[in-house]
Symmetry: none
């Protein structure tokens, strides 16, 4: 149950429902309903009543734990569970300690005084009687209210909800609520460059040749050009999964890049150990460098990059020959190769990736429509991997998809290095 008028009205996309759905799947807990409502106690209570009436063992709520008057989840859940809310003074003190250093950053006229803020946050230390308290990750504590159903109350911001979820499932109260679940194995295979219909054909064949195939619960998902195949099964159906994996390898060896669920970003980060990489980006304008810097410790291999959005920047910062741009156009394989060579040289790197393309909505031509993107991976030993693709979708899709294609080209180039 996701609460928050900003989520209900679509101003914020709900990230908690899908994230919790994944965690429940991992635990083997079946998810029956996701409900979203605004910050109105009447609607919150109606959804609690509905879910309880459906006979669920566990309700998880997110949101409505802040210090303002429209944050009402704890009160509403307490009333629904027939419990009073009581002040937890030890918790109040812990919240005060969290707030004190945060307040130090705000000074001057208009800044709230500490006493005011502390009063607002006393509200956050009011918990249902007999509930287990989950310590704040931000300033809002969560609670677990035991019963039938057990209700877990978590904060709305994903970076607070996610760590707190792991504390919640460790409580006796939640463990008891989910005790009846089935234990499942779950395996994830990832592919790149295979259309979904090709996989569908293989799965139809698998159904004919693999005994116990129907004991595998398979979901496939095409996302950003990558195919994700998630298979869930009870432990004694492991042989059927083994047969399926063999079949996938037989038919799609080139497309499979991960059999253990590893993501392309992790695989590339591993291959970059001991290397020094630089980027040269036009249409993606830094998104690839930003993505390469996502993992902690990226400074071990990421030297840097140039965002050469203008042609001048390609010439001045990367040493691309202006005549090459005039002859082939800025979006061309020769220019991508010259950008990669420039990045290798300027950053004294041994690995470079260049991207130049037309993200749209303007700039397309009959020869090079919107979505045309040229890539080059250049290695220190002189090897080049150059590709041109035509990517579907709008400006944001083309730019994001381009970083994914670049990651896969890097993976390919470095796997055989």
């Amino acid at each position: 149950m996701v609460t928050g008028t900003e989520v209900l009205t679509g101003r914020i996309a709900d990230r908690n429902g899908p994230w919790l759905a994944d965690r429940l799947l991992e635990l083997g807990v079946e998810l029956a309903h996701i409900t979203i409502c605004g910050d109105r106690p009447r609607d919150i209570e109606a959804q609690l009543r509905f879910l309880a009436g459906e006979g669920v063992d566990l309700i998880i709520t997110s949101g409505g734990l802040g210090p303002t008057a429209d944050d009402l989840t704890v009160d509403t859940v307490a009333r629904f569970c027939g419990r009073d809310v009581v002040l937890d003074t030890a918790l109040e003190e812990r919240i005060a300690e969290i707030i004190r250093p945060m307040m130090a950053r705000f000074t001057g006229p208009g800044a709230p005084d500490f006493a005011t803020v502390r009063a607002a946050n006393r509200k956050q230390a009011m918990v249902p009687a007999g509930a287990a308290v989950l310590d704040p990750v931000g300033t809002a504590p969560g609670v677990v209210v035991p019963g039938a159903p057990t209700v877990v109350v978590l904060p709305g911001p994903p970076r607070e909800l996610q760590p707190m979820w792991y504390k919640a499932i460790a409580t006796t109260e939640v463990q008891q609520a989910i005790a009846g679940r089935t234990h499942y194995e779950q395996q994830t295979v990832r592919m790149f460059g295979l259309p979904e219909s090709g996989l569908a054909d293989t799965l139809r064949h698998a159904q004919e040749v693999i005994p116990d195939f129907l004991r595998l619960e398979i979901t496939t998902c095409l996302r950003r050009g990558e195919l994700e195949i998630v298979t869930r099964y009870e432990p004694d159906a492991a042989a059927a999964y083994g047969r399926l994996l063999e079949l996938l390898r037989e038919r799609h060896a080139r497309a499979i890049f991960s059999e253990d669920g590893s993501r392309i970003d992790d695989l590339v980060a591993r291959l970059l150990a001991g290397r020094r990489i630089a980027t040269a980006e036009s249409c993606t304008a830094g998104l690839l460098a930003g993505r390469l810097a996502d993992p902690p410790g990226a400074s071990d291999y990421l030297a840097g990059g140039v965002v050469s959005y203008s042609n001048d920047a390609k010439v001045d910062l990367l040493g691309v020959d202006g005549a090459l741009i005039a002859e082939h156009g800025a979006v061309s394989e020769p220019v991508a190769e010259a950008m990669a060579a420039g990045a290798l040289l300027r950053f004294a790197a041994d690995t470079a990736v260049a991207i130049t393309g037309i993200a749209g909505p303007g700039g397309g031509t009959p020869d090079k429509p919107v979505g045309t993107v040229c890539f080059c991976v250049a290695l220190g030993d002189g090897r080049l991997l150059t590709r041109t693709t035509r990517l579907p979708g709008e400006r944001a899709d083309v730019r994001e998809r381009s970083t994914t294609v670049a990651m896969h080209l890097l993976h390919r180039a470095l796997s055989t290095a």
Copy 2:
């Protein structure tokens, strides 16, 4: 009511709920609940029963209109509304006409034959007796079942649902269902640099001093360091909103950056018209340049940028003095200023932004803990705006939040330019 196991389990993000929420808001129809369930008739029926029990005038469903056996929405809605499903032969013929040319694209072994497909699609021509039919956008028709509540059944794919929605609201059935709606005004104010509790204090004060304050429906949301205040009210409560806005201006003039809902990215893009901007990024590693390139037409003002992740890159690509780094450290105001100056010069720009910081998890010191980030905006006329902040959260939060701080510093520098 969004149906579909792939949405419930989070494999596909729901785009229909937020889109429909926006449309309903535009119409002045109050949205009370969004519910999501899998392709199980029992759960679909339970949600219909819940929503009807809440006394809503209108239920909109999305998904479950396909030709396969797990597409059950029409049958379930018909049963819920106490109506039989009947074959609409004219509709069947229209669907057949849509399918025929699509089938021509599939040939060879394994391709489904036309008769099989047509039989599967006959299912899609079965509609609840007395319902208004909405012609297919893909192959699936929608239906409007009049009653209390009226139920609008739409397909799942957004590109089919969206055009069909406009046909649905044009029907007499839906117009009657929403005849009692209230017309609302909605206003959005955005602030930066004010803690949520400071706003809560102001709103408590507003409640005391503004007559009719309770006729304003206010939701506040803290996101990436920005506070969004959305107020909805009936037109005759406009004076109360006027008083609220005055109070916000009195108390938080410096924090307010938008009174008309404009986002910081749009405001910065407008201010950059006629300018030429370059970036120099360390911890954000291209995310700021990437964000500046989000709007179509960004090439009018974005020259490019340097991702100077390593110290060598700061020296070689941006001309930062190595001695400056040795003396003050790479994360320092003097180095941020030198990076910005270098970006101005190398890209022949008139506006430059530099970011250098410690995103973590490693690299923090007692003096400069994780989250310490230095910014500099440099303008062609020699003006500098330099700031050091300490940002909360983990690596990804610090990096993303840094781009937001940089956008606000840019906004401030350019507003007074």
